[in-house]
């Protein structure tokens, strides 16, 4: 037991989880911005933008995240010399955030579109009837209701994003899955307890997000 506890003095487990939380936080913000823009494109009257939004979603939803993140390091950094920060580690972190954001934006877009589907037709017709054109109607009438209807699917995307932040391993970011591998390789006799520490860490992060978004989605749901 002492052996096991001393392992946590040698390895910075909390720090590794902190990296995952940072990845999740920034990727959540960027993918939300990008996803909202894509969703607006898909419901806009302009065919070329609709087409672009649909193409984006279909391409990135169907590409494995591992491929996208590996592409960031092997392709963008290794081949095209894209550097997002002077510091080596920060550069990898930012490339991983970029990959996570690009991938999850497709799911955010779908979540918002499913939220738009919960808004009754009459709302859009009413917005039109009082003379609002597309952008004001979307901004003042449709999106506020759609976002409230999209809380549950957006929560799912956030949970997926939290778990997927471990895939940053493929982008040479030292985060929890990386540290777990290192710890198990060092202490092969403690495989199971080490795994449970990391697994429970994710349970502790993910379960409250699920409970919170379920509660929020019920509280914010527009009564119809």
């Amino acid at each position: 037991m002492d052996n096991f506890l001393s392992l946590f003095e040698t390895y910075d487990v909390a720090g590794a989880f902190w990296v995952n939380i940072q990845l999740t936080f920034w990727a959540a913000i960027w993918s939300f911005i990008l996803g909202t823009i894509l969703a607006l494109m898909r419901i806009s009257p302009i065919a070329s933008l609709q087409w672009f939004g649909a193409a984006y979603v279909n391409i990135f939803r169907n590409t494995p995240l591992t491929v996208i993140i590996a592409f960031g390091v092997l392709g963008l950094w290794g081949q095209l010399n894209v550097v997002l920060a002077e510091d080596f580690q920060v550069n990898f972190l930012r490339l991983a955030i970029l990959g996570l954001s690009i991938y999850h934006a497709a799911f955010v877009c779908e979540a918002i579109r499913s939220g738009v589907n919960t808004v009754p037709l009459g709302q859009a017709e009413a917005a039109r009837a009082i003379g609002l054109s597309f952008l004001p109607a979307a901004r003042l009438v449709i999106l506020p209701q759609a976002l409230r209807g999209a809380v549950a699917p957006l929560g799912n995307v956030l949970i997926a994003l939290t778990k997927n932040s471990t895939v940053a391993f493929a982008g040479s970011v030292v985060e929890s899955s990386n540290l777990m591998k290192e710890m198990i390789e060092f202490r092969g006799d403690l495989v199971i307890p080490i795994f449970f520490v990391f697994a429970m860490g994710f349970v502790i992060i993910v379960v409250p997000i699920g409970l919170l978004t379920t509660w929020l989605s019920k509280k914010l749901a527009v009564a119809r």
Binding site: I46, N62, V67, F202
Partner: protein, 288 residues
């Protein structure tokens, strides 16, 4: 509000002109973006013939892409079968009328859904490597990790499918003298499976995508082979693009099958196979 066209009026002459202008601007924006990427890539010499010709040679496909694709498909196919079995077992477990079985299945499913697949994969890989009689620990751990996660998602699909059935089905089964367990097995589950078929096929996309996580623990799948090819031929970017394209193609076909199935089944059941509105059950929807 699925008819998006109500967001704007049927355009008059002025509106049509604006949409046309918007369209031109949109096309210019997209084309400009693409042109920027293409010019940047060309500047790096990424369009040199030598970088692309390997994909015209049979040996590239024979020794790199097809073997990689084959092991990706192998892992995904095995994981699909085992996760359906796992999902049925635990889905029925969660619906069981014996409380301890229900709790146990619930605990296992909730735990597995919260843990990242990669974490399970690395754990299984390192744990199984210590077990002497397992021949291919990497393959076993890729398939097992995919099964544990996707099986738990399918278990939730089965549960939400059964909850979505009309009450009368169970009442009728009880009325003709079936026990609750018998009613579940021979009346409710078969109908729930048909209703959940599209969502299940969408989950197969997740399995196929997640099989690429095997790259991290050194499973020789499509991404791994593409990297090797790219390092060998000096065309890493092109190899990764081809690998991504293959993944997208297969997943796109699977997604189309799922869409077709849901239209087909909506004819069969006489109503749309509706997406569940209950957020708790919506959590079971296929998510990466």
């Amino acid at each position: 509000m699925s008819a998006q066209q109500v967001l704007f009026d049927a355009p008059g002459p002025k509106g049509k002109r604006r949409i046309l202008l918007g369209n031109i601007a949109g096309v210019l924006l997209v084309v400009g973006l693409l042109a920027f990427v293409v010019v940047a890539l060309a500047g790096q010499g990424q369009f040199a013939a030598a970088k692309w010709t390997p994909f015209l040679e049979w040996r590239t496909w024979e020794f790199f892409i097809l073997p990689g694709l084959l092991s990706t498909l192998k892992a995904a196919a095995v994981a699909v079968v085992t996760s359906i079995a796992f999902g049925l077992l635990f889905g029925v477990g969660r619906l069981s009328h014996i409380a301890p079985i229900r709790w146990f299945a619930g605990l296992v499913v909730e735990f597995l859904r919260a843990v990242p697949v990669l974490l399970m994969m690395i754990f299984l890989w390192l744990a199984l490597s210590q077990v002497p009689f397992i021949e291919d620990p990497i393959f076993v751990s890729v398939v097992t990790a995919l099964t544990l996660y996707n099986g738990s998602v399918i278990a939730e699909l089965v549960r939400s499918g059964v909850h979505g059935l009309p009450k009368g089905q169970r009442e009728a089964a009880m009325a003709i003298g079936m026990t609750p367990g018998k009613s579940l097995r021979s009346v409710e589950i078969p109908q729930a499976l048909v209703a959940m078929l599209p969502a299940m096929v969408s989950q197969f996309v997740v399995i196929l995508k997640d099989s690429a996580l095997g790259y991290i623990i050194g499973y020789a799948e499509l991404l791994q082979y593409s990297r090797r090819l790219g390092v060998g031929e000096g065309n890493l970017l092109q190899s990764l693009l081809i690998a991504a394209f293959i993944f997208i193609l297969i997943n796109f076909i699977l997604s189309s099958v799922a869409n077709r199935l849901s239209t087909l089944l909506s004819f069969r059941t006489g109503r749309k196979v509706k997406k569940t509105e209950d957020p708790e059950l919506a959590a079971a929807a296929p998510v990466p």
